[in-house]
Amino acid sequence: MPAVERPLIYANLRKPGYTVDLDCYLRHGGYEALRKAVALKPEDVCKEVETSGLRGRGGAGFPTGMKWKFLDRKSGKPAYLVVNADESEPGTYKDRQIIYKDPHQMLEGIAITAWAIQAKQAFIYIRGEFIHGAKILERAIAEAKAKGFLGQNILGSGYSCEVVVHRGGGCYVCGEETGLIESLEGKRGYPRIKPPYFPAVLGLYNCPTIVNNAEPMAQVKHVLAFGGAEFAKIGIPGDSGTHIWGVSGLVKRPGLYEIEAGKATFGELLYDLCGGPLDGRKIKAIIPGGSSTKILKVGERFKGKLANAPSSTGRSRHPPRLQQHRRVRHGLGTAAPSSSTTPSR
C-alpha cells in the first residue's frame, strides 16, 4: 500500500483561506481542547498525555507524559514551561509552518501543558531568524489573552499563565535544552552539566522547568481533543500520533509530509510521496534525521539503539527503493531526511 498522509497538525493550516487570526482558529474548533483540559484536574491532564503515548519531537523521542512526571513539585519553587522553537537542526523546518500558519494551535497546547504542570509562566524560545514568526506569535498571544485563553484567569478557572516569546541569536547549540535555558537567562548558551542540572529539577532560574519541542505542544491539543486512549490508536504501539517529515534535497517533491508514526518506510516516503529522485539521478544516501544522525547509504542496514525493527534497504518494488528500510518512527532525530543523489550512469 502506498504511503498516505494523515494530517493532524497540518490539517487546518493547509486549507485554502486559513489564516493566523483567532477568529479563524475558533471557527475550526479552536480552544475547545483547552476548555476540556481546565475542566479536568491537572494530574488528570498529565495522565491523558501519558496514556496517549505521545513522544517528544526534538530528536530524542522522550515520552512527554513521563517528562512531565519528573517535574519537581515538592520544592515549592515556581515551575516554568519552555517551548523549544529554536528550529536549527539542518533539514528540519516543521515548526516554521506551525508558527507562521497556525500559531494558536501551538498556543492552545502551551496553555494545556502549562495547566497540566501548573506553570504560571511559559516561554517560547524561537529562532532569532524567525522575525515575522515572533511577531505572529506575539499578536496571537495578545488575541488569546483578550479572549481569556491565556493570561489572567484562563477561561474563568482562576488559573493564570503568561507567555513570552523570546528570540534566539542564531546559535545552534541553544536548541539543546540546557543551553537554551542558559540563553533564556541572558547568558551565553553553553549547555549545563547533567547531573545536577536536569531541567525538571534545576532548570530556568534553578527552578523546575519543562522544556518541550514546539511540535508536541501542537500534538497535546489533539491528545486532549481525541482523549489519550483514542490518540494512542494513531500510529503504532510505543509511538503514537503523527510525525511530520521534512524532506529536502534532490527529490522531485521536497516538502513536509505528516504521516502516522511507523506507517511508512523511507522508501515509501521518498518514492510515493516525494516522487523519487530528480530525473536522471538515483538515490545514493539519506540523512534520516538532521545532520546529527548517521548517514544511511542505499543498501546499508540500520543499526541503532532503537533498532528493534532492523532491516536493509531492499530492492523489491522500485529499485533502489529503500523499501524494507526501518519504519519511519521516533529515535531518528528530528524527522528530516535530506536525500543526496547521484547522477545515474
Partner: protein, 187 residues
C-alpha cells in the same frame, strides 16, 4: 571591546526604542533575561550594537557591560559593525547546498558586486553565507533582512539581484509578515 569603524559618533537611540525597553524587562521574572531582546531592539534601531548600547543594556538588566559583551560576541546574529542597507544571507547547509547554493553565491557575488563576507562598495549589500535557516524544502533559500526568499536558483541570480536592488527604494520591504501564497508560506 571593538570600536565602531565609523569615525562619526553613533546617533542616539530612537525615542520609541527607549520607550519599549522597560516593558521588555518587565516581562521576565529576572531582569538579566531581557539582555537578548534588548540587544535585538538596539540592533533593529541602528543596525548594529555599539559599546554605549551595551552599557545602556547592562544598566537596564543589572549586569556589568562585560556580561553584555559576552552575549553579543557569542550569538552570530549580533554585530558590532555597520553593514549594508540589505543583509543578504545565503544558506549553505546541506539541503540548500545540494540544490545549488554555492553556485548561487558565486553568481550573486558578481550580480551584487559584493564578495562574500563583505559589504558592497556602494554600501547597498552585505553578502554572507549562513547555516540552516529552517526552510529546507525550498532550497536554495536566501534570507534578506526579515524576509525569506525561497527556491532562488543559481541561474536566476541576476534577476534576483535586480529584485533586491529594487527593494532599496521600498521602505515597506520586509516590514510585514508574509501572506498566503508568498514565500515563507510554501514550505
Amino acid at each position: 571591546m571593538h570600536e565602531s569603524p565609523s569615525s562619526a559618533p553613533a546617533r542616539a537611540l530612537k525615542p520609541e526604542t527607549l520607550a519599549r525597553a522597560p516593558g521588555i524587562v518587565a516581562q521576565y521574572p529576572q531582569k538579566r533575561s531581557a539582555t537578548m531582546p534588548l540587544l535585538h531592539l538596539v540592533q533593529e534601531d541602528r543596525g548594529h550594537i555599539t559599546k554605549e548600547d551595551m552599557h545602556w543594556v547592562a544598566e537596564l538588566v543589572g549586569v556589568t557591560p562585560m556580561q553584555v559583551l559576552e552575549v553579543v560576541t557569542f550569538y552570530p546574529m549580533f554585530r558590532q559593525h555597520p553593514i549594508g542597507r540589505r543583509h543578504v544571507r545565503v544558506c549553505r547547509t546541506l539541503s540548500c547546498a545540494l540544490r545549488g547554493s554555492y553556485a548561487l553565491m558565486e553568481n550573486l557575488e558578481k550580480s551584487l558586486n559584493c564578495p562574500r563576507g563583505e559589504t558592497s562598495p556602494d554600501g547597498d549589500f552585505t553578502l554572507e553565507f549562513v547555516e540552516c535557516i529552517a526552510d529546507c524544502g525550498c532550497g536554495p533559500v536566501v534570507h534578506v533582512d526579515a524576509s525569506m526568499h525561497e527556491n532562488v536558483r543559481p541561474e536566476d541570480a541576476d534577476k534576483f539581484a535586480a529584485q533586491l536592488k529594487a527593494t532599496l527604494k521600498d521602505p515597506a520591504y520586509g516590514q510585514h509578515p508574509p501572506v498566503p501564497g508568498t514565500p515563507e508560506w510554501n514550505g
